[in-house]
């Protein structure tokens, strides 16, 4: 009598086994889909573009010399390789020393699964410079100033296209050439002139106006107000 309900329960359990298997199957399918979705999300996070020159190549991988190090790009089966004329080429057409951008997914071992490779033109060093310095000279005849930085002195031409600005507190406002004075600290964005490598064209000059130091004596503040 005691065991009858137990036996009945066991029989009931035997009847539910097939549905238990079905539940397990559904569970596994859901888990698989979740993993796929998660992988897609992670792949988006790890999608990268490496720029460098080809050091070595094989039918399935290339070694890319970037600014930092040599990296391995394993070519995906469906990889697309595009040349400078925007035509699709094969890995056989790639040559050592060519500059490319390899786009794909970075793997946990630090290699990339390369999905798309595009040839790039030769590297051109950017000529625009950002300098921090002090105005040490200002021409009275032409709009040329001298800016002395920590290591170098720059002759800078100011044209109508130059943005002249001043920073006071946290605000930046436009100023005129007349407001630019010797001994001012500046940040300048400059490019070398085509004709003469020793002079520069100013794109932007930002004058850093020194903030007045707070006065300790209250009476001085009253005097300033009167003025």
């Amino acid at each position: 009598m005691v065991f009858a309900p137990v036996a009945a329960a066991q029989e009931g359990a035997a009847e539910t086994t097939p549905s238990g298997e079905k539940i397990e199957q559904i569970r596994q399918e859901i888990q698989k889909k979740v993993e796929e979705k998660l992988n897609n999300v992670l792949n988006q996070i790890k999608k990268r573009a490496w720029i460098g020159t080809i050091e070595e190549k094989s039918a399935t991988a290339i070694k890319l010399l970037t600014l930092k190090e040599v990296r391995t790009v394993n070519l995906a089966e469906d990889v697309k390789i595009i040349n400078l004329k925007r035509k699709e080429i094969s890995v056989d057409d790639l040559e050592k020393g060519q500059r490319i951008v390899a786009m794909g997914f970075v793997q946990t071992d630090g290699t990339m699964e390369g999905k798309r490779l595009v040839l790039l033109p030769s590297y051109k060093e950017r000529k625009t410079k950002v300098i921090f310095g002090t105005i040490t000279d200002k021409s009275s005849e032409e709009k040329i100033i001298s800016i002395t930085g920590s290591e170098e002195k720059y002759e800078v031409i100011i044209s109508d296209k130059t943005g002249l600005r001043e920073r006071k507190n946290s605000k930046i406002s436009n100023i005129t050439y007349e407001a630019v004075k010797v001994n001012q600290k500046v940040i300048a964005i400059i490019t070398p002139t085509e004709s003469n490598g020793s002079t520069y064209q100013a794109k932007t000059i930002l004058v850093l106006t020194a903030l007045p130091k707070p006065s300790a004596a209250p009476t001085e503040k009253a005097d300033e107000k009167d003025e």
Binding site: A49, V101, G104, L120, R126, S170, I187, T204, L206, A210
Partner: protein
């Protein structure tokens, strides 16, 4: 009982330390280790700066961290937001392929601006300056493509 055992153990350890029983055992806090730690910190600029692209003028490095975008990432849109953190109220200069911008970090050092990318390779330079001439620079390489990878 446990308390008694712990008490005796602690007392014993303190006594042994006082007697110099542990002098020959290296816990990693001796002078040589401290000196090595200091050298690592000085040689590597400050620990809060992001890696190897950081440069300084006059050895007066300041903090500059780029929160977005990640270096070597791919952008599917022409417009790109640059966000980061540097010294409070520092002047930040951003130079990209076809433009430049000068902005001021806020009181917490946060800054952000939006730039326009060109198709393909984009080199973006972000530099930060304080009034004393301290500076830092970060270079980012971002690839703009509308092709689905």
């Amino acid at each position: 009982m446990i308390g008694v055992v712990l008490g005796f153990t602690t007392t014993g350890l303190l006594w042994a330390k006082k007697q110099g029983k542990f002098d020959n055992i290296n816990f990693g806090t001796n002078k040589q280790d401290k000196q090595n730690d200091n050298e690592e910190i000085e040689g590597g600029l400050d620990a809060t700066t992001t890696p190897s692209d950081t440069e300084s003028a006059d050895e007066k490095a300041i903090v500059l961290e780029i929160a977005s975008p990640e270096n070597e990432s791919i952008s599917e849109t022409e417009k790109l937001e640059i966000r980061g953190k540097t010294e409070p109220n520092a002047t930040v200069v951003v130079v990209w392929e076809e433009g430049e911008d000068i902005l001021v970090a806020d009181i917490t050092g946060q800054f952000e601006t939006e730039i326009n990318l060109v198709g393909g390779e984009n080199l973006i330079e972000v530099s930060s300056y304080n009034d004393e001439g301290g500076s830092a620079k970060e270079n980012l390489t971002i690839t703009y493509t509308t092709t689905k990878i």
